[in-house]
C-alpha cells in the first residue's frame, strides 16, 4: 500500500501529529512547498514580542512549522478565503506546491469559485499547459455541539467536480500517507480531516510514505455483506461489524480513503463476494457519495446482488445544535446493524 521503502521505524502517533509530520516532511523534502491559512501559526507579525506560532493551527496540526520553516513558507492569512485559496492556486500554477487551509468545510461557499472555476478547470481549459499542485486542507464532522455551520461533511461536491481529487483519511497512518500523496500530486486535492479523529492514536512509520490516491482499503474481511465507511464512519462500520459477528453475520469493511477518484473496483470485487452492500456516510443523503457508490454497484454488480444496495447517512436536514438532536444526526453502529439485519433477513 505504500510507495516508499519498507519503513524501518514505526511509532504510535495521534492523527493530528501524523498530519503535522506529513507537512513537516514534505516541507523538508521540497522547498517549493508552502502552507497558508488562518491561524496556522497564529499571532502573526508579533515576532518582536517573542510571539511565534501562538496557535499552531486551529487544531494544532501545523504547530512548529513556522519555527522550522519561517514565515515565508508558513503564512498566516487575513480572514479572506477567496483571496488566499485563489492565491494558493495561482502560486501552484506558477511553480510552488501550495497548501491552503480552509478552517471548516462549511465555509467553502466563500471560496468555491476559486476551486470550481480555477483549480478544477485550469488545466483542462488551458489544454494541459498548466499543472496545479494545490492541496486544500479542511475539516469535516458533526458531534461537537457546533451546530449547522461548523459540522458538515460536505465532500460529495468535491467528488462531483471534474478536475478535483479528494481524500478522507481515517486514522494516523492514512492521515500521513494520504497527505504526503496529496502534496506530491500534481493535481488539486482536497484533504478532509475529521474533527473526531484528531486524538486517535495509531502506528505511523517515521519515514515519509505516500498512499496512492484513489485506492480504498479493506480493514476487515467478511463474506456476508460489504460495509463501506467514509472517514470516521469506517470505525462505525467496524463497530457494527463486531456487533454483527456476535449474530453470526460476517461483514467486510472497506475504508474509502479517496472520494475522488473513487475506488469502485475494490468495492465491486467485495460485493461480488458478499452480495450485499451498505455505504455509511456522515453527509446528508441526496446526491451523496453513498448514493453514488450504490448506483455504481447497482449498475456494475447487478447480477451479484442479493439485496438492495443500501445507505446509512445523516438525514436531509442541517446539523442541529442540541445534543439529543445531534446524537441522532450522526450515523451510528446501531443504525448500521439495523440496516444490515434487514438486508440479511431477505435471504
Amino acid at each position: 500500500m505504500t510507495t516508499a521503502m519498507t519503513p524501518t521505524t514505526t511509532r504510535e502517533l495521534r492523527y493530528r501529529e501524523a498530519i503535522n509530520e506529513a507537512l513537516r516532511q514534505e516541507m523538508e523534502r521540497d522547498e517549493t512547498v508552502i502552507i497558508m491559512g488562518e491561524e496556522i501559526a497564529g499571532g502573526a507579525g508579533r515576532e518582536h514580542l517573542g510571539i511565534v506560532d501562538a496557535w499552531g493551527g486551529p487544531f494544532r496540526t501545523t504547530v512548529g512549522l513556522i519555527q522550522q520553516f519561517g514565515n515565508q513558507r508558513v503564512l498566516d492569512t487575513p480572514l479572506s478565503e477567496a483571496a488566499f485559496v485563489g492565491t494558493a492556486i495561482g502560486a501552484a500554477s506558477t511553480g510552488m506546491r501550495a497548501v491552503a487551509e480552509l478552517m471548516f468545510v462549511d465555509f467553502v461557499g466563500v471560496c468555491m469559485d476559486q476551486l470550481l472555476n480555477n483549480a478544477a478547470k485550469m488545466r483542462y481549459m488551458f489544454g494541459g499547459q498548466v499543472t496545479v499542485p494545490f492541496t486544500m486542507l479542511t475539516r469535516i464532522g458533526a458531534g461537537f455541539g457546533s451546530a449547522a455551520q461548523h459540522s458538515e461533511s460536505f465532500y460529495s461536491i468535491f467528488s462531483h467536480i471534474p478536475g478535483l481529487k479528494g481524500v478522507v483519511p481515517s486514522d494516523p497512518y492514512t492521515a500521513k500517507g494520504l497527505l504526503i500523496a496529496a502534496i506530491r500530486d500534481d493535481d488539486p486535492v482536497v484533504y478532509f480531516e475529521h474533527k473526531g479523529l484528531y486524538g486517535d492514536m495509531g502506528p505511523v512509520p517515521e519515514e515519509p510514505y505516500a498512499i496512492p490516491l484513489g485506492k480504498a482499503r479493506t480493514v476487515r474481511s467478511g463474506s456476508d455483506i460489504t460495509l463501506v465507511g467514509i472517514s470516521r464512519m469506517t470505525w462505525v462500520c467496524t463497530e457494527a461489524a463486531d456487533e454483527l459477528a456476535k449474530e453470526g453475520v460476517n461483514a467486510e469493511v472497506i475504508d474509502l480513503l479517496s472520494v475522488s477518484p473513487i475506488d469502485y473496483d475494490l468495492i465491486i470485487d467485495s460485493v461480488r463476494r458478499t452480495h450485499r452492500l451498505v455505504v455509511v456516510d456522515e453527509d446528508t443523503p441526496v446526491c451523496s457519495l453513498a448514493s453514488d457508490i450504490c448506483a455504481r454497484v447497482a449498475e456494475e454488480a447487478f447480477d451479484y446482488l442479493d439485496a438492495p444496495p443500501s445507505r446509512v447517512t445523516a438525514p436531509h436536514t442541517p446539523v442541529p445544535y442540541s445534543r439529543p438532536l445531534e446524537n441522532v444526526y450522526v450515523p451510528n453502529a446501531a443504525r448500521v446493524v439495523g440496516t444490515v439485519q434487514r438486508l440479511v433477513k431477505r435471504g
Binding site: G45, L49, D106, A147, P315, S322, N327
Partner: protein
C-alpha cells in the same frame, strides 16, 4: 452629549446584563458539555449597547459568532438565550441553533452567525425591505476586524451605497481575529478608512466608551433613517477572554495590553463618567449589577428546568413545506 436619566440607566443596565450573561452563562454552558463554539463579548459591551440604544424593536440587526451582546442590546430575553445555549426547547431557536445562531425575529434580531461576515447581506436585505416598503426602519450589520477583510462586506458597502439603503456597517474592532492581530491582517490603519471608497462616512470611535459610541451611532442612524444612506462605524474595543473558551489569549498578546484595556473597562468608564453628573448614583448602578446577577441565576434555573428537544424534532423546520416522508426516506433514526 446630554443623556437623560432613563437613557443612562438603560445603557448601564444593558452593559451589565451582557457582562453578567457572558461571565456566568458561558462557563455554565461549558459545564453542560456544550462549550465548543461559544464566544464571549465581555469587554465589548459598549458597542452593541451604544448602537442599539438608538433602535426600536422594529429595526434590524445582523450579528456575528460573538453575538450575545448584540442580542441582549436588541432586547432578546437572556433567559431564553440561556435556554438556547443549553440546547433547550424553550430557546428562541428551540435548541437547534445555540450560541452561534441565536435569532429572535420578533425583536428584529436576524441571527448571530457562524460564518464571518455572512450576516452582512442579511442586514442589507432588511434595509432594502425597509426602504421598499417605506417602513422607516434601519438595519445594523455587525462584524469584526477579521470580517472587515471578507469580500462580501465590500460588495455590500457598494450595494448599500448605490441603493442608498438605511444600513449601518458596524465594525467591532477588538484587535484580533482569533489569534491574528488586526495590525497584521488589515492593510490600512483603520477599517473606517475604507468608507471613502464607497462614498459613505467612515467614523472611528472609542468602543470602550459607550457615550462615544452612542453619539456616533446617533448620527449614523439619523442618516440612515432620513434616507441619506449607509455609514461605516468602526468601534475600537477589546475582548477580555480568548477567542473561544479554549484558547489562552496570552499566547498571542501581552499581559500589559490586557491590563491596559481592562483598565478602560466600559462599565468602569461609565461609572467614572456619571459619578459627578448627579443624574444617577453609583448605588443605583450597584443595584443593577445585583439585578443582573439574579437575572442570570434565574436564567440558568429556567434553562435547566426546560425540556430538551425530542430526537425526532430533528426533522422539523427544515422547510415550511416538504414531504416529511421524503426527508425520512431510507433513514431510520429510531433504530
Amino acid at each position: 452629549m446630554e443623556l437623560d436619566r432613563e437613557m443612562l440607566l438603560h445603557l448601564y443596565r444593558t452593559m451589565t446584563t451582557i457582562r453578567h450573561f457572558e461571565e456566568r452563562g458561558i462557563p455554565e454552558t461549558g459545564q453542560r458539555g456544550m462549550s465548543g463554539s461559544v464566544h464571549s463579548s465581555a469587554g465589548q459591551e459598549a458597542v452593541p449597547t451604544g448602537i442599539c440604544a438608538h433602535l426600536t424593536v422594529d429595526d434590524y440587526i445582523g450579528s456575528t459568532h460573538r453575538g450575545h451582546g448584540h442580542c441582549i442590546a436588541k432586547g432578546v430575553d437572556p433567559k431564553l438565550m440561556m435556554a438556547e445555549l443549553f440546547g433547550r426547547s424553550t430557546g428562541p431557536n428551540k435548541g437547534k441553533g445555540g450560541s452561534m445562531h441565536i435569532a429572535d425575529m420578533s425583536k428584529g434580531m436576524l441571527g448571530t452567525n457562524g460564518v464571518v461576515a455572512a450576516s452582512i447581506p442579511l442586514a442589507v436585505g432588511a434595509g432594502l425591505t425597509s426602504k421598499l416598503r417605506n417602513l422607516g426602519r434601519v438595519a445594523v450589520a455587525f462584524f469584526g476586524d477579521g470580517g472587515a477583510n471578507q469580500g462580501v462586506l465590500h460588495e455590500c458597502m457598494n450595494l448599500a451605497s448605490v441603493w442608498k439603503l438605511p444600513v449601518i456597517f458596524c465594525c467591532e474592532n477588538n484587535g484580533y481575529a482569533e489569534s491574528t492581530p488586526v495590525e497584521y491582517a488589515l492593510s490600512t490603519a483603520r477599517v473606517a478608512d475604507r468608507a471613502a471608497g464607497y462614498d459613505m462616512p467612515g467614523i472611528h470611535v472609542d468602543g470602550m466608551d459607550v457615550f462615544d459610541v452612542f453619539e456616533a451611532a446617533g448620527e449614523a442612524v439619523r442618516r440612515a433613517r432620513s434616507g441619506e444612506g449607509p455609514s461605516l462605524l468602526e468601534c475600537r474595543t477589546y475582548r477580555y477572554y480568548g477567542h473561544t473558551v479554549f484558547d489562552n489569549p496570552l499566547s498571542y498578546r501581552t499581559q500589559e495590553e490586557q491590563d491596559y484595556w481592562r483598565n478602560r473597562d466600559p462599565l468602569k468608564l461609565f461609572r467614572e463618567r456619571v459619578a459627578d453628573g448627579g443624574l444617577v448614583s453609583l448605588t443605583e448602578l450597584d443595584q443593577m449589577d445585583e439585578e443582573a446577577t439574579e437575572m442570570m441565576e434565574d436564567a440558568i434555573r429556567f434553562a435547566d428546568e426546560s425540556p430538551l428537544p425530542e430526537p425526532l424534532e430533528i426533522y422539523d423546520d427544515v422547510y415550511v413545506d416538504y414531504p416529511k416522508d421524503m426527508m425520512k426516506r431510507g433513514i431510520n433514526l429510531e433504530v
